[in-house]
């Protein structure tokens, strides 16, 4: 490899100015296009069922009685797992979800298993909950309204929602590994209440 001569390393406008010009333009554009620090507060984030957006609100009946209203869970870390009894990967990840729920519920984790009841039967749901010994609340989407609102395209789908109601990540399909669930939950719980 030949090293450059001393003469060639001197500044030559015709050769060096285009490089410098491109870099200067890039720096100016970066400064010009930065976001003012006080703009876009998080409470203005529109609702949409994807990462970085506010989790769309819903109300659903719970299997054990009572109702869950998502917006009332603001201030808590929420995992929303959408599942059905006939879905093999949903079954496969239930033990991991139950384990993580038991490990982190004392630290403020809320886990809701939202069953797609419009495509399922409540009797099967009861049997399923007993079979897997689920202790987290199971909500029933009887008319498919939550499924439509959250544009569910695959089962299971899991939404990790932070204390401000912002969806931090979405996992479509499964089964999720226990480490994946735990890592996402740790991130949610790290945030100051």
């Amino acid at each position: 490899m030949t090293l450059p001569s001393k003469t060639s390393s001197k500044f030559k406008p015709s050769r060096d100015l285009p490089f410098a010009g491109v870099l200067l333009l890039a720096v100016v554009w970066t400064i010009f296009s930065r976001i003012p620090v006080d703009s876009a507060p998080r409470d203005e984030v529109p609702p949409s069922p994807r990462q970085g957006f506010s989790a769309p609100d819903f109300t659903a009946d719970l299997l054990d009685g009572g109702r869950v209203i998502l917006s009332e869970l603001r201030g808590q870390a929420v995992v929303l797992n959408v599942w059905a009894t006939w879905c093999p990967p949903c079954k496969a990840e239930m033990p991991a979800l139950e384990k993580v729920y038991n490990d982190f519920k004392e630290q403020g984790l809320v886990l809701i298993g939202l069953n797609l009841t419009s495509q399922d039967s409540e009797k099967d749901v009861i049997d399923f909950v007993q079979e897997f010994g689920l202790s987290f609340p199971v909500a029933l989407d009887r008319d498919g309204a939550v499924q439509r609102k959250y544009k569910i395209s695959g089962y299971p789908t899991t939404f990790f929602i932070d204390r401000e109601g912002i969806i931090q990540s979405v996992v479509v399909g499964g089964p999720m590994s226990a480490a994946l669930i735990q890592s996402k939950v740790e991130d949610l719980l790290k945030e100051t209440p």
Binding site: M1, T2, L3, P4, S5, S8, S9, R15, D16, F19, V22, L23, A26, V27, W29, T30, F32, S33, R34, I35, P36, V37, P46, P47, S48, R50, G52, F53, A96, S153, G154, S169, V171, V172, G173, M176, S177, A178, A179, L180, Q182, S183, E186
Partner: protein
Amino acid sequence: MYPFLRIGPLLLNFSGLTALVGIWIGLTLTEKEAIRMKLDPNRISNMILIGMMAGVAGARLGYALQYLQAFISNPVSLFSITPETLLVWAGMLTGLLAAVFYGRHMGLSLRPTLDALAPGLAIFMIGLGVSHFLSGNAYGAPVDLPWSITLWSELRHPSQVYETLAATLIFGLTWFSPTRRQGTGMNFLLVVAGSACARIFLEAFRGDSRILIGGFRDAQVLSLVILAAALWMMHRWGEERVAAGGSGQE
């Protein structure tokens, strides 16, 4: 947006498949380019595949180190096929190091190898743009323009279309560049510098930028560093060619 394609009980990640198609076309093009530059196409393919495999392993290990307690409690999860437990930058670094190590071990000449990779890399960037369009990722900032698209409840810049067009332009520049088959490394640097310029410009229209202190977008700052490095190398390698009498080879 069509992020998933359902075929019976199977749910295919359509956008991920598109990115894979981009990798496949890019790999095919790279092999052809390697033959034109009188490099061994098998070695180039092996280098890319080794880099990709090492990249996946590095990305998983990087993620596991970041969430060490979760993986100590569930060590089997280290081998799960879920793509969510990957740390991208760790994977890129590991993959790059593995590819460089393999290339040096097999005696691949640096600059012709880089130039053989250039058009394939540009094709991959086009595939990535299409993949983003299908998944709805890398979405644009809200704006009401005649060419805005409705995405995630709002009218937005079609940033994925901008990204794809920019990658196509870079591919065109690379493909028709007079330096394409000289094996000087300049064509590769052209792709890197062009991609960095495109990201710096187009990031301003994105709605998902991560913000640093002072309101700077992290992708723009990182791209500035990459652009500066690519320009400096273009300058330096150009000087070396002049000093060597313009032979164009190392």
